[in-house]
Amino acid sequence: MAKEFTYSGCAASAQACKMAKVEVICSYPIRPYTAIMMELAKMVVNGELDAEFVHGEGEHAQFSVVLGASAAGARALTGSAGVGVTYAMELYSPIAGGRYPVQAAIANRALDPPGDFGSEHTDIMSVRDQGWIMGWAETPQEVFDNTLINYRVGEDPEVMLPQFVCQDGYFVSHIPGKVSVPEQSQVDEFLPPYRPHNPLNPKAPFIHGPQIKPNQGPVIDLQRAVAHLNTPKVIRQALDEYNQIMGRNYSPFLDEYRTGDAEMVFFILGGHARTCRFAVDALRKKGVKIGMVKIRFVRPWPTEDLQECLSKFKAVGVVETSTSYGGAMKGGILLHEVRASLYDLPERPLTTSFMAGLGGEVVSLQAFYYMAEVLTKAIEANKINKYVQWIGFEPDWHEFVEAGG
């Protein structure tokens, strides 16, 4: 029988890693993800978890250690946050290209400046195109579940890709919530042991990461691309099985909330979806036909699911939580992907985005009410005024606040 505990996102992550029986862990401290490694270190010392716990001398070392561990055949875990994520940049491509399904537990943190502890998704979004599977959790429960699901998907023979399992720093990583923890036997049924391809072995030597010739380069890139094309199917299968074994109700890619008769939706990822649900409920009471679509995986990006889902609505408000300076949409990253996904549809919703949840700032209920008003006006005029609205700084934001919105 599953048991219920109260865990922060970090504690939930550590519990899931313990139940996944990770074999090699490499840590280096940076808030707010550090608490995951503190929990795991305690488990190893207390003999609850039989794992090799290595303390790296930096993030570059952390990701190097897990690459080697995975090549040797171990289920490996590392993690980081904020500038730690960017310090390890060199290793992301070798790990994904060498097809080592290591997992990195990430608690998102704003990049410098300003040396802020708060959540912002630009750290991981900056490395989104290296070939890692990447997804966000809204609650400690989802952190726990995503940890197991990602190991299963990443280690699938058709996939063999590393995974970023992300949670918002502080909002999810440090605020406790109820977590239903399954029996070890249920986890074992869902997650078989890691079977590496050609592990390092002195008796049958293999070369990992040899020097290649230029005409082999495109083939390796193609392999990584094909692995990502295979991944959505594997995610669907894994989620089906996970829901069945654990008694959960996850949709693989898009979690819809009150979208049945909605004319407009907030498109969001991560911990702020929690506040967003309250905002949707409050707006619904005022008669606004609004819902929420939460995306669970950003890589692989679920293009077809998104087309099917978002084409039902008249307007989509993308809540960015990350930055893309000088880009086509003049603001965030998600809007690029959303608009590109919808481009081939005969009928497209109006799409605009909101810069919110940056530098650790909360996305307030008031911010969601403002977004709903912008979307309502867009539907009335049948056009959007801007690709991007900066919450707190737009002229009509100040008007909205002064009018008591």
Partner: protein, 109 residues
């Protein structure tokens, strides 16, 4: 879904069986402008520093004849062995001073 011509196939993640011997397709001797050589054989005390420090594994020990043996095909001429030689038996010389000295050039390897 995609067609990769047979001659361009690469194993997943480029993990390949080790040849467990010299890889003739990766000869790097023409990176060298200087080469290490055994100047004073009588000084060599078989301390094996050259064997330990060579980044390319180009020094081996011939136990029977009690000498160190240099692999000319893969030595890039970094001369770490000369620096590390505890007996000062190894020295460096210009590559082209030797008969059959390699000439750097047209391609990287």
């Amino acid at each position: 879904m995609f067609i990769v011509p047979k001659e361009r196939e690469v194993p997943q993640g480029v993990v390949i069986p080790s040849p467990v011997k010299d890889n003739r397709e990766m000869i790097t001797s023409n990176w060298r402008s200087k080469r290490p050589y055994m100047k004073y054989l009588d000084k060599c005390n078989l301390c094996r520093n050259c064997y330990i420090f060579c980044p390319d594994g180009c020094w081996t020990v011939d136990e029977e004849n009690e000498v160190v043996v240099w692999n000319a095909d893969f030595c890039k001429g970094c001369l770490i062995c000369v620096t590390e030689c505890s007996a000062k038996a190894l020295d460096a010389a210009d590559e082209l001073d030797f008969d059959g000295g390699v000439i750097r050039l047209e391609k990287s390897f």
